[in-house]
Amino acid sequence: MITYIIRRLLAAVLLLFIVSAAVFSIFYLVPRLVGATPETLATRYVGRSATPETVNLIAHKLGFYDPIWVQYGRWVKGIFLGSEYDYGSGTEQCPAPCFGYSFITRQPVWPDLLDRLPVTLSLAVGAATLWVIFGVATGVLSALRRGSLLDRAAMGVSLAGVSMPIFFTGLISLLVFSYQLKWTAAGGSYTPFTENPGDWFYSLLLPWIVLAFQFSAQYARLTRAGMLETLGEDYIRTARAKGLPERAVTVQHGLRAALTPLLTIFGLDFGLLLGGAVLTEQVFSLPGLGKYAVDAITNNDLPKVLGVTMMAALFVVVANLVVDLLYAVVDPRVRIN
């Protein structure tokens, strides 16, 4: 088990390393391949009244004159050892997980990421709670009442749910619930939980529902399929043959087994979501990691982009790791091997 965990951890680190190298080279290499010079890169970050000399200085300061591996090495070093930043009248220490300084705001990226994380976390956790409850419940009911009106209605709605782009449902729901009916908060009015839990809840309600709607739909379908499959298993028949009440059969025996494969999918979904619910955050203007990423990209703010992509990849990797370990907890067959 321990070696298994270690191996998975090493693999995860390697994976992050590859992801970072790939992201890095795409951002640093592609523009250069297309003919950008350190100066033209720097002109993005010099303000509106820069002289060529300033451009030079900035390019230098941002390290654009160094070869790519030096730049990458510096970046990696910053993460592990921290780095120093010259703010003009002195230097500032950026402690260990230092993802560099924004090219534009000249602020360290890491605190920014930490700052955005709660937003995305709130969004993801809330939505996940909703979709797991609704999705699984719908899926189970549908499976148990297979072929009934309820089943068909639920599956119809679910299929519609997975077929609708989130930015469409988001826009429509904003229009209807927040603009027309004024039931929910308008976009962009996020309030941190620590500030006012009520407002926090109110501001996230619509994003939660919209995000959860889409995922519920997917989970309802998956749960239903999983339930139908497990309900056809021999051990379900055994449970019935033992005289277990139907509820115990479906919940303790059926659902338990049906949900296990869902765990993997949930892990991946949740991990991806933590890395930034880009579209949802964009539509509802939530200042989370996804919006941060989009803004960073729009502004060509490479350290931010790198930071946020690494964060996202980290979440996926960690989520997968957790899922694998959880799997071992849930499924004894995995545990033993």
Binding site: A11, F27, L279, V317
Partner: protein, 331 residues
């Protein structure tokens, strides 16, 4: 009943095959699994209606110029006379009329109907090509990984992990952003489409790859592969003649189910502003424009519904196809 030894006639089946059902005698031509699946699919009303919608959409995409000629205006043509310039909204709210079935866009008064129709071209083209690309990459790498196993498999599987760990959307936006205006001898829409196809296709292959790999792994253990091998068949023969025919069904299913995902993906990229370039109409792009005018409902409604119906149709059809082709449904 006893039949003398030495002859082989005591085994000749007398009764009609149960599998053949009630049509004895006939049926010299065997019914392939594909044919059976097709019959089953034809019986699935829902899936077939999805299929009809898909065919309809493809026709719409192909004949967009013709349709627009009769039912609309050129997709990029302005109708500012239909716009209230101080509010930018279409006069009368939506501008829906006989000339403009879905109304006109605010601000410039372009015909939403014809833009939705033209948008189908972009959506379908990109989705199909991207799906094709990922199917090709995914199938090849999946089969290779599954068949050869060992370090080849390890390498490809890790590559899939890397791709799956990528924050895909973020990454695509970023990639679409740094790609220049002219490359690979392409410019304009052609380049954008190629780029989107590449990004979408290149990043969604692991999904197919995983499935194909898994299927290959299980197929590889099937005895008919051993049988071929014991006849002296080489690797390529086994891959192409023995394995691939069995992979067609899962590949087809997941390709059909990947298309709607890719449509959504393309729409998302366009929505985030890295899709095809304006004024070329795309559904995601229209929604992104509509977001600025979110109080004007019809602007977001029609392209949104177009995406919804298209994706739904593909999902319905894909589900039906899976039910029809899934080996589990067979017995």
């Amino acid at each position: 009943m006893v039949v003398g030894p030495g002859t082989v006639s005591d085994q000749v089946p007398v009764t009609p095959d149960p599998a053949e059902g009630s049509v004895p005698g006939k049926a010299i031509e065997g019914r392939s699994l594909g044919r059976i699946a097709w019959t089953r699919l034809k019986r699935d009303k829902v899936a077939m209606s999805g299929g009809y919608v898909i065919v309809f959409l493809i026709l719409v995409a192909i004949f967009a110029p013709l349709i627009v000629k009769f039912l609309g205006d050129p997709p990029n043509e302005f109708h500012q006379n239909l716009i209230d310039t101080s509010t930018l909204a279409p006069k009368g709210g939506t501008g829906i009329s006989g000339d403009h079935l879905f109304g006109v866009e605010p601000q410039n008064g372009r015909d939403i109907f014809s833009r939705v129709v033209y948008g189908a071209r972009i959506s379908l083209l990109i989705a199909f090509l991207a799906t094709g690309l990922s199917v090709v990459i995914g199938s090849i790498l999946g089969v290779v990984a599954g068949f050869f196993g060992g370090w080849v498999d390890a390498l490809i599987s890790r590559a899939m992990d890397v791709f799956l760990a990528f924050p895909l959307l973020v990454f695509s936006i970023a990639l679409a952003g740094v790609i220049p205006d002219k490359a690979f001898g392409l410019t304009g829409d052609a380049l954008r489409i190629a780029l989107l196809v590449f990004i979408i296709g290149f990043f969604s292959w692991p999904y197919i790859g995983r499935i194909v790999r898994g299927q290959t792994l299980s197929l590889r253990e099937r005895e008919f592969v051993d049988a071929a091998r014991s006849l002296g068949a080489r690797g390529p023969y086994i891959i192409f003649k023995e394995l691939l025919p069995n992979l067609v069904a899962p590949i087809l299913i997941y390709a059909t189910l990947l298309i709607p995902t890719n449509i959504l993906f393309e729409a998302a990229l366009s929505f985030l502003g890295v899709g095809v370039r304006p004024p070329t109409a795309s559904w995601g792009g229209m929604l992104s424009d509509a977001a600025r005018f979110y109080t004007i409902w019809h602007f977001m409604f029609f392209p949104g519904m177009a995406i919804f119906i298209t994706v739904l149709a593909f999902n319905l059809f894909g589900d039906g196809l899976r039910d029809a082709l899934d080996p589990k449904g067979r017995r």
